[in-house]
Amino acid sequence: MSPLKTLLDIPKIFWVNVALIVAFSLISSRYMTILNAINIMQQGAVLLVITAAMTIVILSEGLDLSLGAVMTMAGVVSVLALGAGLPVPVAILAGVLSGTFLGAITGTLIAFCKMSPFIATLGMQGVIFGFTLALTHSKAIFTDNANFILIGSRIGRYVPLAAILCGIIFLSVWATLHHTKFGRYVIAIGGNESGAHLSGINTTFWKWFVYVFAGTVTAMGGIILAARLEVADPIVGVGWEFDAIAATVLGGTSLTTGRGDVSGSFLGVLLIMLLRNGMNVVGTPPIWQPALMGTIIIFAIAFQVSTTMREEAGR
């Protein structure tokens, strides 16, 4: 493989990221610092986890709009468990299992009841959000448990523990996709579900498991977020699923063909975080940030998708 070919094989989105970094550092001298880089990592870490979960779901030709709500619920469950006096590991486990449980319900609706993922997860989003409000009496619940807060904090100035933990989760998801049967079945179901079924794969079970897996992974992200913010806020997760979908698509994963990879989603998350952080650093008025963000994401996706589609047409 020639060096030029290797260079061309790098996803376009990578160059968009490079361009953003160059642009922001030209605008602001405060941008290119180690501390700001660590900031981006800490802030983006949880989105990375949820996007990894979302990518798995999308690769299986599914969709999970309830992941933001699952994330919130997991944080709330953990913090409530702490408040009830349970030890930290038990509280964390309770939070994670809440995600597993919710994923199992979502998965049952989709895999066994054959509901459309869009409808099923939109419904679940409402249900989970409602229960979270009820559990918290729609108030943020603060925690001061030092051991719990530790997992979301940074040690000293330069060791972002939340980012490291999320990085490990992300790598585990990547390894699951590439190095386990489940991961290969995800690609199989997304790429050719009837073919997978006729090859003797229990597609119904594995489809169910996709949502169980996504719920579990997302819950881990939710707990780390609650620890980082030192609060379980019942509305913290609103809209996160859309960021995760955007990051997944930006990373080159196709919504319909089982084509894509978790590694691309990393670049998608990076783009979103670079934009968010960059706009703050260069002083974009907050009221304009969402509109600007949306516009740039649309252009970036158009840019990425046009490449993906051209490649697919060329096959």
Partner: protein
């Protein structure tokens, strides 16, 4: 008592298992409204190719799916190695040694060859971690045992159809399949690829694997098959040694009537030139300097191997793809059209090869499909008048003898032949005069084929022009007034009806024509007559 039962078992089971690897006894299966199989029996010996023959809707697919465990029969039983195999599931059938290669693409596009071959039994080590190395090594071994080379790291989407089939065969072998069902394996293969597939099949036979071979191509099954079982309308017609039956008698068994003239041909006086292509080239689709023409009152065949650019040429003429160079002249005027919509206005009809996806909206009714390309014309005010739609579409259903209870029937529920007729009706309704058929009879039973040939002739006699792409040489030769042969994106020969033979066309298509001068590539159309004359 124990003595009796054990001796009975000793008598029947070893005998049965040595002679037949599969026995299907008196199987019936009904679907809502259809008796798909009615008391059908079938058996398979190790190391034989047993052809299953029948028109579409004869029950072949249903029988195949029952053997593979995809459907459960309503009555009857299946014995594998002499042992009753009740309540089969796809998984259980696989474990009992039934492998199946469906006609549809059943590989996983974005998994590689090794992963596809071992999809349901991926080797692992350290609990759940996949052992990619072993998978690739074993995959290479299996492919080598078939004398085939396919890169095991290639993704399935990157393979040719022939390679995909080899992967499917390899996949079946991983389960130690002793019964291999192949559903129209040659449907989209070129002649050379078919030869390769037959070599693989002979390899499988020598391993003692019994093969159930489903095909519509009668001559090909004479070459590869040992026995044939004919089904008609879900009923068992008979089983014969292929060496003892003629192609004609097989056709008779299938349709239950004599087909003395499969290909109709009438001489019609030629009219004006309606289509002329000059020097058409396209980088994206690989067309190179294509020139051809088409007149009223003729059927022109477009022959060539799969991938030689025939479909690409058809799409270019129809403005479905852009071209870089060259001119397309329609009814004497240079076409300025840029989209298929312009082509429809120019009275061109394209009946694509993949009619289910490109020719029809399967979930719409027959009536809606019939009028789908002429809505502007029939309902210029934009309001679809249901009564008018019904009366108009009923007319076409009658003219084309589309077998459907009513125009309201969902098109998906029709047989392949009738779906093709709906596509024809759709273009008749637009008032088209230039008809481009891309593999019009692919996957269609003999009866419907005859009718479609009849319509092509009807079009010809009614002063229309027909361009027919076909991979079936007898069809091209039987139907065409002239034949253009394509190879590697360009037309390499024009053959008149009188001088067309299968050997001649094949040799042009495969670059084996004896009269081809041995000079450089500057003259790309050496054997070609002047198209204007």
């Amino acid at each position: 008592m124990p003595r009796i039962s054990s001796s009975a078992a000793a008598e029947s089971s070893p005998l049965a298992s040595s002679e037949y690897v599969l026995q299907v006894r008196n199987v019936s299966k009904a679907f809502p409204g259809v008796q798909a199989l009615d008391n059908v029996s079938f058996d398979l010996k190790p190391g034989e190719v047993h052809v299953l023959l029948g028109e579409n809707g004869a029950g072949k697919s249903t029988l195949m799916k029952i053997i593979a465990g995809a459907y459960l029969p309503d009555a009857g039983e299946i014995l594998i190695d002499g042992q009753p195999a009740a309540n089969l599931t796809p998984r259980k059938a696989q474990e009992l040694g039934v492998g199946i290669i469906y006609q549809e693409f059943n590989l996983i596009p974005f998994l590689n060859v090794a992963e596809n071959i071992f999809i349901d039994q991926l080797p692992t080590r350290q609990l759940i971690r996949l052992d990619h190395k072993t998978a690739h090594r074993k995959a290479r071994e299996i492919l080598a045992s078939l004398n085939m080379e396919v890169p095991t790291h290639a993704l399935a989407v990157e393979l040719s159809t022939a390679q995909q089939q080899i992967v499917e065969v390899a996949k079946a072998l991983t389960h130690n399949s002793r019964i291999l069902i192949m559903d129209e394996p040659t449907a989209s293969l070129t002649d050379r690829e078919i030869e390769q597939l037959f070599m693989t099949i002979r390899e499988l036979k020598s391993k003692g694997i019994g093969i159930i071979y489903i095909s519509h191509r009668l001559r090909e099954m004479k070459e590869i098959g040992d026995r044939v079982t004919v089904l008609r309308d879900g009923r068992y017609v008979g089983t014969h040694n292929l060496s003892e039956v003629t192609v004609d008698s097989l056709v008779t068994m299938m349709v239950g009537r004599e087909i003395d003239l499969l290909y109709e041909h009438d001489e019609v006086s030629l009219g004006e030139e309606v289509l002329r292509v000059e020097g058409l080239s396209s980088k994206a689709t690989g067309l190179r300097d294509v020139s051809m023409n088409l007149r009223r009152g003729e059927i022109v065949g477009l022959a060539g191997l799969v991938g030689s650019g025939r479909t690409e040429l058809a799409r270019a003429i129809f403005n479905a793809d852009r071209h870089d160079e060259g001119r397309i002249i329609i009814f004497g005027k240079e076409s300025k059209g840029k989209t298929p919509k312009d082509s429809v206005r120019n009275r061109i009809a394209l009946l694509p090869e993949d009619r289910k996806r490109q020719g029809l909206a399967l979930i719409l009714s027959v009536a809606e499909n019939v009028l789908s390309a002429s809505l502007d014309k029939v309902f210029p005010r934009g309001w679809v008048d249901q009564r008018k739609q019904k009366s108009l579409s009923d007319e076409y259903i009658k003219i084309l003898r589309i077998a459907t209870p009513s125009g309201a029937r969902i098109t998906r529920d029709l047989s392949g032949g009738n779906q093709q007729k709906v596509v024809i009706a759709k273009w008749l309704a637009t008032g088209s005069e230039i008809f481009i058929f891309d593999e019009p009879t692919r996957g269609i039973d003999v009866g419907a084929k005859c009718e479609i040939y009849g319509f092509m002739n009807h079009l010809k006699k009614n002063n229309c022009a027909v361009l027919m792409i076909s991979s079936e040489l007898p069809e091209v030769i039987g139907m065409s007034d002239r034949i253009f042969v394509m190879r590697e994106g360009t037309i390499v020969a024009e053959v008149s009806r009188g001088e067309a033979t299968q050997e001649k066309i094949i040799s042009y298509a495969m670059d084996a024509a004896p009269e081809r001068p041995a000079n450089s590539g500057t003259d790309q159309n050496p054997a070609r007559a002047d198209p204007g004359k």
